[in-house]
Amino acid sequence: MEHLSSTTNRFVNAMYRQRGKSFLKYKQLSSLAIGDCEDAELAYTMRDLPPRAGHTFPGSEMPMMDREPDGSSHPHTPGTPTFTRPLSRSLEPELVRRSQLSSMSSLDSPMSPSRPKSPWGRFDPYDSAEDQDKEYVGFATLPNQVHRKSVKKGFAFTLMVAGESGLGKSTLVNSLFLTDLYKDRKMLNAEERISQTVEITKHTVSIEEKGVKLRLTIVDTPGFGDAVNNTECWRAVEDYIDQQFEQYFRDESGLNRKNIQDNRVHCCLYFISPFGHGLRPMDVEFMKTLHEKVNIVPVLAKADSLTPEEVRKIKMKICEEIERFDINIYQFPECDSDEDEEIKLQHQELKDSIPFAVIGSNVQVESQGRRFRGRQYPWGVVEVENPEHSDFLKLRNMLVRTHMQDLKDVTRETHYENYRAQCIQNMTHMVVRERKRSLCNRVRDSASDLPLPLVPVDSNTERLIWEKDEEVILFSLA
């Protein structure tokens, strides 16, 4: 997390610049950062000062609490000798405010001088009673800082849905994110679709929930698997993913890297038809082509056409076939060994449910006095969110609530890095080939110029030359 330390440093430097050596303020702002050891020492010594109650100071400048998070300047510029007074002065309003706004902090513990008002409120990791007396440096609040920054920036997530048409992809996407992304979709009839090739369409929507912004992009693949001859119909998908990687690669290697837009595909939901007997040849080919480029999450579509027994059987079959064909679908990260049993159990359940047997619906139906999203049949009503009816909840929780960040991380660390390494390797090969060719040409040309017959370079020397060449190139590229 290099960028984090840089922010912290910037913060600290800003403080210094604004108020000279205002170690005081720095320490009071919940001891967020560690400057150099000088400041740390000072921080320690200051903690021993007792509170000076009963002082009132005119014009308590600005409400401490509001200013602290923003790290704005404190008007007084205490020099070293005056630090006692400003300490107590600033402590006073703190005390007052503390009692007034006690709801902000989870514990109403007696304030000690070493415990300045924390902006983290109830997220302050130091709030428990046992932490009050120990001495902390205070960097355990780093996650909170990251959190706050990210919330301001917002998140981006790109999800791709692939599969034959009619498997309920659009309905599922709408159900997952409770939006209607496909309002004006025109369904082509079979005549029009004869000449259709696989397209890639993108829909972007910004969703906000509890202050957190998500820029969600859904990449759809209409026309996939619909033709009579579907050879290489995944080529368009592969090209799209590569394109996004390339774009990011270029942006990353560019000069201005402030606002890189991450359009890389983070997750691909592949819809498997429930009407077959497991994976079809096309499913296998698609997944084999793309498993090294994107996180594939297989999904069993329209699962309400299957009885529970059939669901179990087909899931087993699909898992077996995935293993047999060596397809690397997205693997959940292992649980830490110190997590409690319940979480581990849930995790195991999640792993066992691959592929997720889902049902999608955005239509509200009413049954037994309740209203819920579902599908109404003459013989019963299917609930989308009932875990006994479908794995929709599991999929949604995985995708949105627990594993979204992990999906992005795997994309960034594994798939993108693979792409990048390959790209660089290709470039290297190209350059080497170029040099070989140019050298060849030069040799040929020179042969025609020289009056003497050119001594044929023996293969050993030639090889040495090429090897040296490659070394040089690699060195220059590194």
């Binding site: 034959e164 009839n189 038809s273 609930e383």
Partner: protein
Amino acid sequence: MSEIVPPEVRPKPVVPAKPSHVAPPSGAPFLPSPQGTGGEGQGSGRGSALLGYIGIDTIIEQMRKKTMKTGFDFNIMVVGQSGLGKSTLVNTLFKSQVSRRSASWSRDDKIPKTVEIKSVSHVIEEGGVKMKLTVVDTPGFGDQINNDNCWEPISKYINEQYEKFLKEEVNIARKKRIPDTRVHCCLYFISPTGHSLRQLDIEFMKHLSRVVNIIPVIAKSDTLTLDEKIEFKQKVRKELEVCGIECYPQKEFDEDMDKSDNDKIREMMPFAVVGSDKEYQVNGKRVLGRKTAWGVVEVENPNHCEFSLLRDFMIRSHLQDLKEVTHNIQYETYRAKRLNDNGGLHPINSSGHDTQESNL
């Protein structure tokens, strides 16, 4: 069963230059024959009044006895992607384990690389009537990545059966009862996507609707809610119309008395079916169905699916008609084409030593 009339009564189409436009009205003088002769219990005012009971109407009884003794053949072909429930539906239709799957012990679900044709025959009996039922299955259809021309093996098979029958027919020493292996009915299974027909469906039906009677069915229709079902059916019907595909019962072969019935049936096609060979207890009755976590889909309940409609249509009312249309129209078309192509009937296949040329 007033339609047990020997095939000769139906108008035999004149061999035209363009065999594909065979139509019944060309045989006008033959048409009102049942009424014209004044027999067969139709009682039109045309014939002379009978002075007593003769007993002509017992011919029905005689024919029935004969049919029961000889039994009859019925060949049905099922076409569709794997996993659409073809074998289960056939088992449900004939209430017995007649499909390919049940015949072989190894329930091998591997997808074959090319379309194969596998036929299984059984003799089933009901009410003293014996039927030799042959189910022709087509594993591998539509399952590959490249499905170009995957209907060709099927087309070839159908034509081969016609050829076989033709050869038997032109023999000088003909068998009394030519074994009929011609495909009388082809059930085409449409995947219940809910959107429209797939390209493969249209291509198949275009190529084969003039060769064999196709009855399209929507497979695994418990995926669709009532509204979706209605919408999907409408879309399918419209698309078939636009592409000029005529499924059985074909409008052009309708006779007047069948027209309104057939119209009603055409309105309801394609039938949305669900197949099952398991029984469950519902309201104290044992019914065939599928049990899910939210209810039991009853196969024979007309509110749930149209299986009973399909069964009544195919077996209880139009079974004989299917055979007749196959014999009189599809087969005759094939025969006429062969005659025209060769300017006379020569046995073209190499196994022609025993068949002798006949003059036509």
